[in-house]
C-alpha cells in the first residue's frame, strides 16, 4: 500500500532493510541517514520518524543531526538543481543579488524546492571558477559573469524546455 507521499513500496522496503542492517550497531545514525537519503533523495518527517523508531533514538536527536550537517536535505531537490556560488570571489562580484533574484522569481528560499518539482535552490561554496565570478550552476551547466537581470532569461530557458517536453 502506498502512503501517498514520496515513498513508494520499494523505497519503503529499502528503508526497512537499511534500518535492519544497522539496528544493533551503536553510532550508526549518520550512516543510516546517508543511505536513506540515497533512496529518497531527501529526509522528510516520515523517513526520519521511521529511522528514529527503528534505531530507538529520539526524533529530536535525528532532526538535530540532519540539520547540523549540510549534506542532509529536508526538502526534495528539483529536476533542475540551482547552486549559486557564494564563495568569496563570487560574493564580492554580487552573487548575493543573483541568489535573491532567483529566490524572488521562484518564490522559494535556499534549501527549498518549487511545488512543481522543477527547481531547487541552494547556496554553495567556491566551485573553482573564480575567473567567471559570479557563478551559478544548474545541474551540470555553468553560467558565469552574471548580473541579476540575466536571471529571468536563464530560468525561462528551462521552463520552455519543459513545455517542449510536455508537448512531445
Amino acid at each position: 500500500m502506498s502512503c501517498g507521499c514520496c515513498c513508494t513500496d520499494n523505497k519503503s522496503q529499502e528503508l526497512d532493510k537499511i534500518i535492519a542492517k544497522y539496528k544493533d550497531s551503536r553510532g550508526a545514525l549518520i550512516t543510516v541517514l546517508h543511505e536513506a537519503q540515497e533512496v529518497y533523495g531527501y529526509l522528510p518527517l516520515s523517513v526520519q520518524k521511521r529511522i528514529a523508531e527503528g534505531l530507538n533514538v529520539p526524533l529530536s536527536e535525528v532532526y538535530g543531526v540532519v540539520t547540523f550537517y549540510t549534506q542532509f536535505f529536508l526538502n526534495p531537490k528539483g529536476k533542475y538543481k540551482i547552486n549559486v556560488c557564494l564563495g568569496t570571489a563570487c560574493y564580492v562580484k554580487g552573487a548575493g543579488q543573483i541568489y535573491d533574484k532567483i529566490s524572488e522569481i521562484l518564490k522559494i528560499k535556499g534549501g527549498e524546492c518549487t511545488p512543481d518539482g522543477l527547481f531547487s535552490l541552494d547556496a554553495c561554496r567556491c566551485v573553482g571558477a573564480c575567473g567567471l565570478a559570479p557563478v551559478v550552476m544548474i545541474n551540470d551547466e555553468v553560467y558565469g559573469r552574471l548580473v541579476a537581470d540575466d536571471v529571468p532569461a536563464i530560468l525561462q530557458k528551462y521552463i520552455d524546455q519543459e513545455a517542449e517536453l510536455a508537448k512531445a
Binding site: 518527517l45 526520519q48 529530536s60 535525528v62
Partner: protein, 582 residues
Amino acid sequence: MSEYVTLTIDGIEVKAPVGSTVLEAAKSAGINIPTLCFLKDINEIGACRMCIVDVGARSFQAACMYPVSEGLVVKTNTPKIRETRKVTLELILSTHEKKCLTCVRNRNCELQKLAKDLNVKDIRFEGELQNHPIDDMSHSIVRDPNKCVLCRRCVSVCKNVQTVAAIETVERGFKTIVASPFNMPLKDTPCVNCGQCIVVCPVGALREKSSIDRVWEALSNEDLHVVVQTAPAVRAALGEEFGYPIGTRVTGKMVAALKKLGFAKVFDTDTAADLTIMEEGTELVERIKNNGKLPLITSCSPGWVKFCEHNYPDLLDNLSTCKSPQNMFGAVLKSYYAEKMGIDPAKIFVVSVMPCTAKKFECERPELASTGYPDVDEVLTTRELAEMINEAGIDFRNLPDEQFDDPMGEATGAGVIFGVTGGVMEAALRSVPYLLTGKDEGDIDIKVVRGVETLKEAEVEVNGIKIKAAVVHGLGNARKLLDKVRAGEADYQFIEVMACPGGCVNGGGQPIQPASVRNEIDLRAERAKAIYAEDEALTIRRSHQNPMVLKMYEEYFEKPGGHKSHKLLHTHYVARENYPEK
C-alpha cells in the same frame, strides 16, 4: 573507600576525591568559579566556557569537566582568565535579547547575575540578534528562543531525566537554536508539559503560559463566584518567593493572601486528595477482588498521564480512572457545592493554584467537564500566585495566618502528602486496610515509600490479600519500571508515578531556584520536609476519616465507585500519536 589526590588551587592546597572536578575541588576550598550552563547531575558539558581555569595546559579548561589529579596546579583568578571570561560573556550578551525590565526572569536571572558578578560594565560587541517566533501554542509552556543562551539544560532534563526528548539543539553555528523536530510547536510534540525545562532555564527563554490576566478579570466580575483551591506542594514552596528559607511551610499566609486577592472561598485541594484516595482505593480493592487489570497505576500527575498516552498506550487500562484531585475538586464544586450553596454552576469560576504547568493542559482536556462546565476554569502556578500577590501590593511576610474556608476546607494529613513522591501511595496504604475490612490496620507512617530514591517498594497484607506497591518519580525512572510491567517482569498490584523528580514539590510551576542553590541543596528533600511537617501537625491523617469526605458520600455521592462518582469523579484516556504528520 574513596581515594584522594592533592592539588593546588590559587596557592591553596586542596584534597579532593579522585574523579571529582576542579569546580568541585575549588568549591570545597571556598573558591567560587563562575558557571552558566552547569547544573549538577543534569548538565555537565562545559558548553558555555564561563568556568575556564588555567591548569597549565596550552588552553584554558572548563573547570566543571576537568578532573582533579595529583599535583595539579590550578589558577582561577588571573587577569587573562578574568578578561577571557568577560569577553565570552560579552559575546553571549551581544546576541541576547536584553529586554530585562519586562522579562519574566527579571531579578531572578542567572545571566543578569553573572554580568554583575563578572563586573561587565560595557558590551564591546554589537551582535546580530536572533529573530525567531515565540512558540506560545501549548497550553502550558511558552518558548522564546530569542532569549536562549544555548546552555542546553532544558534539552538535557527533557531528554535524559524525563526521556521525553521533545527539544534538541538544531542547526549549527550562529543559526543554532533549541527547537522541536521540524520546528513543530511544542503542542504537536510528545512534550508532557511537566515544565522541568522552565525550572532549569537560567534565563527567560522558557516560561509558563500565563493565566494571570484571566484570573484578574474573573475576580473583578461581580456576576461570578470565584473560588480557589491550592495543591499541597504550593504551601511548601511559595515562601521562597518572599524570602523564606527553602522548606518553610506558609499555609496560613498563603490562605490569607488568597482572601486578600478577592477569592470568595479558599479551599484546599487536599480535601479532593482524600476523595481521590476513597475512589482510587476502592478501585484497587475492586480490581484485586474481581481479577481486574493490574497493576493499578495512579493518575494524579497530568505529565505522567500524557507520557503514558504517548509512550505506553497499551497500558492505559492500567491507569486509575480517577480524575486528579484538582479536577475532582472542580467537579465537586460545580455539582455538590453548587447545589448545597444554591449557586448556579455556570456562575462558579474555579481557579487552582498548582506547583505544575501540566495542570494547565489538564484543565483544557475536553473530557474533564462532566458537569457540563469545565471542572477547572484557570490554573495558576505557584510562581504566578506570587506575581499576583506582589502586583496587588500585599505584604506577604506580615500577613496573619488564616484558615481554609468551610465547607470544603477540611483535609487530612494523607491529602497533604500527595505533594511529594510516595505520598499518594502512603495515603492509599493508610486507607486500603479499612476499605478492605472496615478496620484500620498498619502504621500511619509508611516511611519506606518516602525519600528521593528512584524506586521505592512497599508490601502490605490484609486478610490474606497481599498488595505489593512501587513508587517512581521522574519519567525516566517511570519508563524503566513501565518497560518491566510491559514485559511481565514486575508483579506489583499498585504503582504510583509522579512525572517530576521528587514529586509535585519539585514541579515545573514551583519557584525557580538558580543553579547556585540547586547545586548545593536537594530541593526535593527540603520542600518535602514542609509537607511531612504539615501531615504530622494534622489530627486526622487517614483519608477515610475526613468528615467532609464522609459527609459528601452521605449527602451526594452515596458510595465510592458508585454511579455518581463514576459520572463526576472518573475519566478516560486517549492514545496519542508522537509527531503526527499532517
